[in-house]
């Protein structure tokens, strides 16, 4: 452990645990301590993380019970300090690995070989990849066979048989040229492995490259496993329910693809916490390394699947590869890693070389669910529906439903309003499916008070109505004419109370805003 509680981190630790002081200060201290993790800037997330660590402390274990704090500190405080300090250390380790191993210092550029590598990539990713066979075999085959010998030396049991090296030699280029369902998958696998050696690390390289269509795949992956669902809940805080969380993450990633990196970092940190709870994960780098490899593999699988069927993306991948500095060295390492994985796959399959199997396990099929709702597309309709909500009930009831979808079972007005929603705002409804609103809840959670602000502005004439006046329905219709979406029916009864409630909307929004700003 490089840090000690007496130095800077020790001071931060004391702020986090001592006396459980003001939440804002504790979160600031935690943010400072965990500065190597790329989620450290998300104060709300850190607050939830701190709460999680306090609510579910690490169990008694010799490793976590080494005293870190001053004498007199409770066992729980000491364990909290241990978790924070070690998380900080592991975060620094992950960053150090990325800097040291993935970035420029390891890959030295050489003008001649780099030009040659660029020509080889140009041929491999062209419609006629076979034209590049002589060049690829001249430059890479010796290294590929060396990797195969290394796998053969470490293979368990009776080894890989007499034909193994022949098979590797004869399949190396054909596999690259035509491997995979579309004949592009193995080439893309190698291209992405090459790209992973550049930029800010293996995860970040996908951020600028993956198109918005990929986000649905990624988000589905984020809710497939119980562990990743728990991470997602921690990351988002609300609303409840995996599906709504998936749509919320989806919306966030569409708006800000950079969020993928802190989300992946949180997955690593969360896996560490789980490992420590199980009494494992003490060895530096083992959990982080394995999970980072798995995360990278999943991203690669999504990227391969999309680029294999998208000519524009395929071209972008080629462009990104050609733009890498020290391309020859990076290609050599990527070929070695791909061959290593492929040879072990062959070994696990008893020596069978299968064309249709890709080195990186393919990702799941197309996501059949519709994409997240977008305010830009459905704003007018949603504003109208929200105005009707504001006229019929307290907006806070809808907010509570966004947080907890079960709450609407208690509220018949909200139920009726939800049934009035047009089909395009409902996830799916049919004989076999319950009507659900995960996308709507995710959108409202994502946008916060913004829709309400727009409702208050657009439907300002409603607030100007006199609730005691006669003929209020007609006056309401005249006041909202031009702004009201025809797909939503105008409210008929309870208008005097509704107009009074609508007048209080701005105050409620202001109150919510102040509450959100509180640390």
């Amino acid at each position: 452990m490089a840090n000690s509680p007496e130095s800077g981190p020790g001071f931060a630790l004391a702020s986090i645990v001592a006396g459980h002081g003001p939440a804002g200060e504790r979160v600031e201290a935690l943010s400072e301590l965990l500065s190597a993790w790329r989620f450290h800037g998300d104060r709300a997330l850190l607050s939830r993380l701190l709460e999680l660590l306090e609510r579910h402390p690490l169990p008694a274990q010799p490793q976590v019970d080494a005293p870190l704090l001053a004498p007199g500190a409770t066992v729980e405080d000491n364990r909290l300090a241990w978790a924070c300090l070690h998380l900080a250390d592991r975060g620094r380790w992950v960053r150090q690995m990325e800097r040291r191993q993935w970035q420029a210092s390891r890959f030295r550029g050489q003008a001649g070989p780099d030009l040659d590598a660029a020509a080889a990539w140009g041929e491999l990713l062209s419609p006629m990849p076979w034209a590049g066979r002589a060049r690829w075999e001249r430059d890479q085959l010796a290294a590929v066979l060396r990797v195969a010998r290394a796998v053969a030396m470490s293979a368990p049991g009776e080894g890989l048989g007499a034909f193994f090296l022949d098979d590797v030699r004869e399949s190396f280029f054909p596999r690259l040229a035509v491997g995979g369902n579309s004949g592009r998958e193995e080439r893309l696998d190698l291209a992405f492995r090459t790209l992973e050696t550049g930029g800010d690390g293996p995860i970040a390289c996908y951020v600028g490259l993956l198109p918005p269509t990929s986000m649905g795949h990624l988000c589905r992956g984020a809710v497939l496993r119980p562990a990743s669902r728990r991470t997602l809940r921690l990351y988002l805080g609300h609303p409840a329910g995996a599906e709504a969380q998936r749509y919320l993450l989806w919306s966030q990633l569409l708006a800000e693809p950079d969020r993928l990196v802190p989300f992946c970092d949180l997955q690593l940190a969360r896996q560490l916490l789980y490992a420590w709870k199980r009494g494992t994960g003490w060895k530096m780098g083992k959990i982080e390394g394995r999970n980072l490899s798995a995360l990278t593999g999943r991203l690669r699988a999504v990227a391969i699947r999309l680029a294999a069927s998208d000519d524009v993306l395929f071209e972008r991948v080629l462009g990104a590869v050609l733009a890498l500095p020290a391309l020859a060295a990076r290609t050599r390492v990527a070929v070695a890693r791909q061959t290593w994985s492929w040879c072990w796959e062959v070994c696990h399959r008893g020596g069978d070389v299968e064309l249709l199997h890709t080195t990186t396990a393919p990702c799941l099929g197309d996501d059949p669910t519709p994409g997240p709702l977008e305010w830009g597309e459905h704003g007018a309709l949603l504003r109208t529906w929200l105005c009707k909500v504001a006229l019929r009930m307290e907006p806070r009831i809808l907010d509570r439903w966004v947080e907890d979808h079960d709450s609407h079972r208690q509220d018949s007005t909200l139920n009726r309003l939800l049934l009035e929603l047009p089909a395009q705002l409902v996830d799916a409804s049919g004989p076999m499916k319950r009507r659900s609103y995960h996308r709507l809840r995710a959108l409202l959670a994502w946008l916060g008070p913004r829709p309400w602000v727009e409702v208050a502005e657009v439907f300002q004439p409603v607030a100007d109505l006199d609730p005691t006046a006669r003929g209020l329905p007609g006056k309401l219709a005249a006041a909202v004419a031009g702004s009201w979406h025809p797909a939503i029916g105008l409210p008929r009864g309870g208008l005097p109370r509704g107009v009074r409630r609508f007048r209080g909307l701005s105050d409620w929004i202001e109150g919510e805003r102040r509450r959100d700003e509180r640390p």
């Binding site: 290394a150 030396m153 470490s154 022949d166 004869e170 070389v353």
Partner: protein, 209 residues
């Protein structure tokens, strides 16, 4: 960043991955830390490196045929044994007749089947052996629109590899050339992925087994 010495936990597989640059960054970091601390690990690495880079026999590269399971071009094949029609059975006796059914080759009138078998390190063409046997693929067509070949397993025991290449009918091979030169065009086409090709493996077992 320092930590406890785990060099004894580093497996040979990790050391080999490190040697061939296939180790992940964290594995490489562990290996390098271990190498700085442990003489025993440095010795293990040196021994593995020596074994890994031992001089290799040069391989003849005349015929570049895909290994079984990897098919070039639109073709696929299944092996029938002559006496037992069970598909997928790949054990035969020495000299036993087996049948191979190939599907999916386009333009069978315009292609010739070239059948090879692997002997030692190299491949040998067993069909066509003479101009008179040089017939288009469509001659082997069966009732179900596949192409059937009747072959006899070699007498040597163990795994035998057989390969099929479906060469364009024209230009025809120059039968006046020695065999080493006769198929050079096909070898070039196979190298450049221009010819549908596949191979399969048979297990030849002794009659008593």
């Amino acid at each position: 960043m320092s930590g406890p010495d785990h060099s004894a936990d580093i497996s040979d597989a990790t050391l080999l991955a490190y040697l061939v640059e296939a180790a992940s960054p964290w594995q490489a970091e562990r290996v390098e830390q271990g190498l700085r601390r442990s003489f025993e690990l440095r010795e293990r690495l040196a021994v593995l490196s020596q074994r890994l880079d031992a001089p290799q026999e040069p391989q003849p590269l005349g015929w570049r045929l895909p290994p079984p399971g990897l098919v070039l071009g639109p073709a696929h094949a299944a092996v029938h044994l002559a006496h037992a029609a069970a598909l997928g059975t790949d054990s035969v006796r020495p000299g036993q007749v087996f049948r191979v059914r190939v599907q999916g080759v386009v333009d069978p009138e315009q292609r010739r089947p070239v059948i090879l078998t692997q002997r030692g390190e190299g491949w040998e063409v067993i069909h066509p052996r003479a101009e008179v046997h040089d017939r288009p693929l469509c001659d082997n067509r069966d009732r179900d629109d596949g192409f059937l070949f009747r072959l006899k397993a070699r007498s040597d025991m163990g795994r035998q590899r057989w390969a099929f290449a479906f060469q364009p009918w024209l230009p025809r091979p120059d039968w006046s050339l020695p065999e080493a030169d006769r198929w050079r065009g096909l070898q070039d086409d196979l190298f450049h992925g221009l010819v549908p090709a596949l191979s399969l493996e048979l297990q030849v077992v002794s009659p008593g087994s």
